[in-house]
Symmetry: C2
Subunit: 316 residues, 2 copies
């Protein structure tokens, strides 16, 4: 039997959408039980009677919002769903996953402060699986948890990424690279160059050195390592360009006359498929925070019930 | 009368393509003269007789390639077209533009070492004009010249970007922002936060603080400042995502049956327009290196004759 703790608060679509995501997960995995964290008075009446025996409520009267300072939240919001949920996870070794669509910064900080770390890395890292052209996906970390990273931190992220990739995809040989401003060995910061030297000690990995941001999604790499600042820049750039292309397409179709409109209608299923492939939150439910002994999944703030279901089931 | 110096070597498409770009520029601007730099023995016979009285040859028997070390090229390749051209530019104040499709790193290093700097910034910066959803374009610097930048360097880049934007687009009010990992004032590195404080002293700019990489192309900003490492990451990420989307589209069309194929055929003109809008090298001919008293234009290595023409005419 699997047990997952789900933070009901923090989603832009409200806690009822998160609850629907829980129901779908329970329908899909019959040996799953869920502990939802939220205000008991508010939630008790809401839970669908069909699921009542498989959902437990963990009471938390407060919530962390994006306006809360992530570093002080752990002191000032002790009764928030995120902190109550993480503490519960810590005390229960039989539960291995906590899912939250709440503030990334607060989730990273509180997870780091509350949970036990594994011994692969000094720091924890956010590791989404980004879509690739060939559909395999690439583990990209750190995508935003740590701004300043030493060579040793980057080396730690590589170990976390490789470990996660092997478990998730059940493949032994992992093609690894470091995000840089060029592919030549002299490129990149001092930290990147040193991290590559450290990585040469790892066995059974295919160390491919420095790569450029345009090649991350090419399908040639399984794990790409960067610090959280550059990771954030790359991730948001991918998002920005995808948004730009789809906006330009809408504009061109609008202005392109009847021919373009019929073309767009016929091509709609293909375009929808592409948009869905690119939405990594939709595909995986969110990003795992790596470096902890238990799984913490950051679901996107605007996760639909389907994304929540994936976040619950994707990392058990 | 305008004069432009053009490096014939360094383009992936060869020097004949660059020459064709020169002819087109001469056709478009009748008071233009061009000094081409290359091996006289090789070029003399090649030049179309119709343009012979408007093209001068500056002899340079050598060329800088991507395999040359950019920092030692200035000593070891004194007779290369790039260095001979830059030296000629330096000695002729009546010429204000040098165009080269050669190695970016060598062009940046040699321009910095050989040419006179303006007084706006300590460092020079590569500043492409990126496409935006509304078609206006955004000056994005530094896109790759300097890996490590202080707050003062970033402030200098802002001054360079604003100055260039005003001259290029003839608009006084400039909307400026710094690339960061979030929009809140606490976000970004120490250097970014300090650069924003320094920028508050500038008059007539609309200082919009930190922005995320997904918003650079939104059309809400005229000048976006970053260091050359993050600039490179963002630029290559935009490129990578555009490539990914067009590759996925091709695949979907191929696998999507007759309906998708007809749709693609009808939508082709719109898709081509979008691809062309996104290709900033095609739209502007290249990126200007800012911070110098004279213009140095880095044309893309794979510039067609049309891109070379734009590079020659776009920054006179």
């Amino acid at each position: 039997m699997s047990k997952v703790v789900v933070d009901l608060y923090g989603s832009d679509l409200g806690h009822e959408e998160v609850l629907k995501g829980c129901y779908q997960a329970l329908d899909k995995k019959l040996d799953l039980n869920i502990i939802v964290v939220g205000n008991e008075n508010e939630i008790k009446e809401l839970i669908d009677s069909r699921y009542k025996d498989r959902i437990d409520i963990l009471h938390a009267k407060d919530k962390i919002t994006c306006n809360d300072n992530p570093t002080t939240a752990i002191l000032l919001k002790r009764n928030s769903s995120m902190i109550v949920g993480l503490k519960y996870l810590k005390e229960h070794n039989d539960i291995n996953t906590f899912v939250s669509a709440g503030s990334s910064a607060a989730l990273i900080t509180c997870s780091f402060l509350l949970l036990e770390k594994n011994n692969l890395s000094n720091k924890i890292a956010m590791a989404p699986i980004l879509p690739t052209i060939n559909g395999n996906g690439v583990v990209f970390l750190d995508s935003g948890a740590n701004i300043n990273c030493s060579a040793d931190d980057l080396f730690g992220f590589l170990k976390l990424g490789v470990d996660f990739y092997r478990k998730k995809f059940n493949k032994q040989n992992v093609r690894c690279a470091f995000l840089s401003n060029g592919t030549e060995s002299i490129k990149g910061t001092h930290e990147i160059q040193e991290a590559i030297k450290l990585s040469q000690s790892l066995e059974n990995i295919d160390l491919l050195g420095q790569i450029e941001a345009r090649d991350v999604l090419s399908g040639k790499y399984d794990v790409v390592v960067t610090d959280g600042f550059n990771g954030n820049i790359a991730l948001k750039s991918y998002e920005g360009m995808a948004k730009t292309i789809f906006s330009l397409l809408k504009k061109e179709i609008k202005e392109g006359g009847i021919k373009a409109k019929i073309g767009a209608f016929l091509l709609k299923p293909s375009l929808k498929k592409i948009a869905s492939k690119l939405d990594y939150n939709k595909n995986t439910g969110g990003a795992l925070i790596l470096g902890l002994k238990q799984n913490v999944v950051k679901a996107h703030g605007s996760s639909t019930k389907d994304a929540i279901t994936l976040a619950i089931l994707g990392f058990i």
